[in-house]
């Protein structure tokens, strides 16, 4: 891997490479049981949660007979263990999570459709958040205790304490409702298809500005807090003091000594905060009526649409586990000191 290239000698490099690939292999294998357990738990929670999907399709006066027919059609009349085994074999063999109760389409198809808007939203917001949060964090740490640091820290604490959907509601109220500068909902306008190519791009960007700003500001507050904290801590440590005593220039101290050590915690922070980021994106999607995973999950939960909610939950779970693995890998690339053998648990 990249970090090994600077290590002297080819032998060390190949050793490192073997070590890393063995570690990767072990971790990837380790993911399988975790994800299976997670998906099973989701299946159990969803099926044991009170409420009966058949009632959704019926008026309250319908007889028990009709209800049984519907239960039979969805396979809900069989024992839970049988349902589980059928579901599990479908997932493992065909990656088939079953058909949606409400639309009749395959659950995976509905989710793949909804994944696009969610990925666009979280992707852009993450880039926005990391850029702004890290930059401000670095400069605040350099000027620790001065007016700039105090102002920025106060502003960031404010956004850190604010639920992301609240930022969204306020931005929506100001820029979409009051000033009417930007659209308030959906990914595109109704007349999107009739626009020229450039017009369509502008239209999409205009629709993305508010949601991406909302989530981005929220993310940047989180990253700011971590980056500033770890930079300040490292700037107070002895090796920085020693570097200063040796007369190393301030710029070199900040960017070469301190920043490098502070970026490490950021990597794992991003990995570990994925579930939180995901939850934030779900509510922001509901606020801006974006046709993403948040809305699919929201309506599937309301309609007790078992196959869709189980598939969506399993996917969310998988993405979190993969995110953690990615964080571990990046961490390892960034810091060759990490001993691989001890990190499996």
């Amino acid at each position: 891997m990249d970090s090994g290239e600077r290590a002297p000698g080819n032998r060390r490099l190949t050793e490192r490479f073997e070590e890393v690939s063995a570690f990767l292999f072990r971790r990837l294998i380790g993911i399988v049981p975790v994800v299976l357990i997670g998906a099973t738990l989701i299946f159990i929670i969803v099926h044991l949660a009170p409420g009966d999907p058949t009632t959704i399709f019926l008026d309250p006066n319908a007889g028990a007979n009709t209800r049984e027919q519907i239960a039979e059609r969805f396979g809900l009349d069989r024992p839970l263990a049988t349902q589980y085994l059928k579901w599990l074999s479908g997932v493992i063999v065909h990656f088939d999570f079953g058909n949606s109760f409400s639309t009749g389409r395959p659950a995976t198809e509905m989710i793949v459709e909804a994944l696009g808007p969610t990925l666009i939203l979280t992707g852009f917001s993450l880039i926005f958040g990391i850029l702004i949060g890290t930059l401000l964090g670095i400069f605040a740490a350099i000027r620790e205790g001065r007016a700039f640091d105090k102002t920025i820290s106060a502003v960031m604490l404010f956004f850190y304490s604010m639920p992301s959907f609240l930022i969204g509601v306020l931005l929506l109220g100001l820029f979409a409702v009051r000033l009417d500068w930007l659209p308030s909902s959906q990914m595109t306008s109704l007349f999107h298809e009739q626009l020229s190519f450039n017009g369509r791009i502008v239209d999409s960007i205009r629709h993305l500005i508010l949601p991406v700003t909302t989530l981005g500001v929220s993310f940047s507050a989180v990253f700011f807090k971590y980056i500033r904290g770890s930079m300040v801590e490292s700037l107070h440590s002895n090796y920085i003091l020693a570097a200063r005593a040796r007369g190393v220039s301030s710029g070199k101290i900040f960017f070469k000594y301190s920043l490098r050590n502070s970026l490490l915690p950021l990597i794992s922070t991003i990995g570990l905060s994925l579930p939180m980021l995901f939850s934030g994106a779900l509510i922001v999607e509901v606020v801006f009526s974006l046709p993403g995973m948040g809305r699919v999950m929201f309506y599937a939960a309301l309609a007790r649409d078992y196959p869709v909610i189980i598939a969506a939950g399993s996917l969310a779970f998988l993405s979190v586990v993969l995110g953690n693995l990615l964080a571990d890998i990046l961490y390892m690339v960034a810091d060759p000191r990490i001993r691989l053998k001890g990190r499996s648990s």
Binding site: V34, G38, I45, V46, F158, M162, P163, S279, A301, I309
Partner: protein
């Protein structure tokens, strides 16, 4: 000055802030100031009760895991990994969305999905404290495991627990407000801050003050808990404490 938060007055629908109604009124003519005061009871109760249960669960699991090590530790930490994989909001949507949202159910689900962070912190602390000489000498003296755990280890890992509990209250309030905001938390006519925010969102163009003041209530409260948590950390954590003095 606070009035009955449920008293509707149809002659004063959607009034902007005034002397009689410092935060204005909503579209049932209810006094918003009183509603936010009463909503605070619910939001704070949820925040504190959920944190209490989450900290208790997390501390027990973390202590068992850290002190005993071996296979219980491996199993419990794997379990924590699995639990951390669930986006909390997803579980809440599933369980609460499937049934009629109820206060007790929300408390239970939030508590059951909030303890993992505490468990990790406690485990890491126990691992370091376990190696201290006073613990080793207590073990060498032949004290019972229970006594070592509760009289020697527990008091010395208390400060990180207090810090993370304080910070957790804020984050639980945020999650609760999100749930109530999308209509899956506290149900009208009861109102937490999130429920009031949802009301404001539905009339964003007409009555901005509902959104503004209920939002401010959340933010000010959460900032408060975060500041207290950070402050406690600076005082209790010897590492940063030395730096500040």
């Amino acid at each position: 000055m606070p009035q009955d938060p449920y008293a509707q007055n149809l002659e004063e629908i959607s009034q902007p802030p005034s002397l009689a109604h410092p935060f204005g009124t909503d579209f049932f003519g209810r006094d918003l100031f009183s509603r936010i005061l009463y909503g605070g009871r619910l939001s704070l109760t949820i925040g504190i009760v959920v944190t209490f249960f989450a900290v208790v669960i997390g501390t027990i699991i973390g202590m068992v895991s850290g002190y005993f090590g071996g296979w219980p530790d491996a199993a419990l930490m794997r379990f924590v990994d699995v639990m951390l994989g669930f986006p909390r909001l997803f579980i809440l949507l599933t369980v609460i969305g499937f049934t009629r949202p109820s206060f007790g159910l929300m408390l239970a689900v939030l508590s059951l999905f909030s303890w993992m962070e505490v468990a990790r912190i406690v485990r890491a602390e126990v691992l370091t404290v376990r190696e201290r000489l006073y613990v080793k000498s207590a073990v060498a003296l032949g004290l019972s495991r229970r006594r070592v755990l509760f009289r020697y280890i527990f008091p010395n890992i208390l400060s990180p627990i207090i810090v993370s509990a304080t910070l957790m209250v804020g984050s639980v309030i945020v999650i609760e407000s999100g749930l109530s905001f999308i209509g899956m938390g506290v149900q009208p006519p009861d109102a937490s801050w999130g429920t009031i925010l949802n009301q404001g969102f539905q009339d964003l163009a007409g009555a901005w003050w509902i959104t503004l003041f209920s939002g401010l209530a959340i933010v000010v409260t959460v900032i408060g808990f975060n500041l207290v948590g950070d402050g406690l950390r600076n005082i209790l954590d010897s590492k940063t404490g030395v730096r500040e003095s």
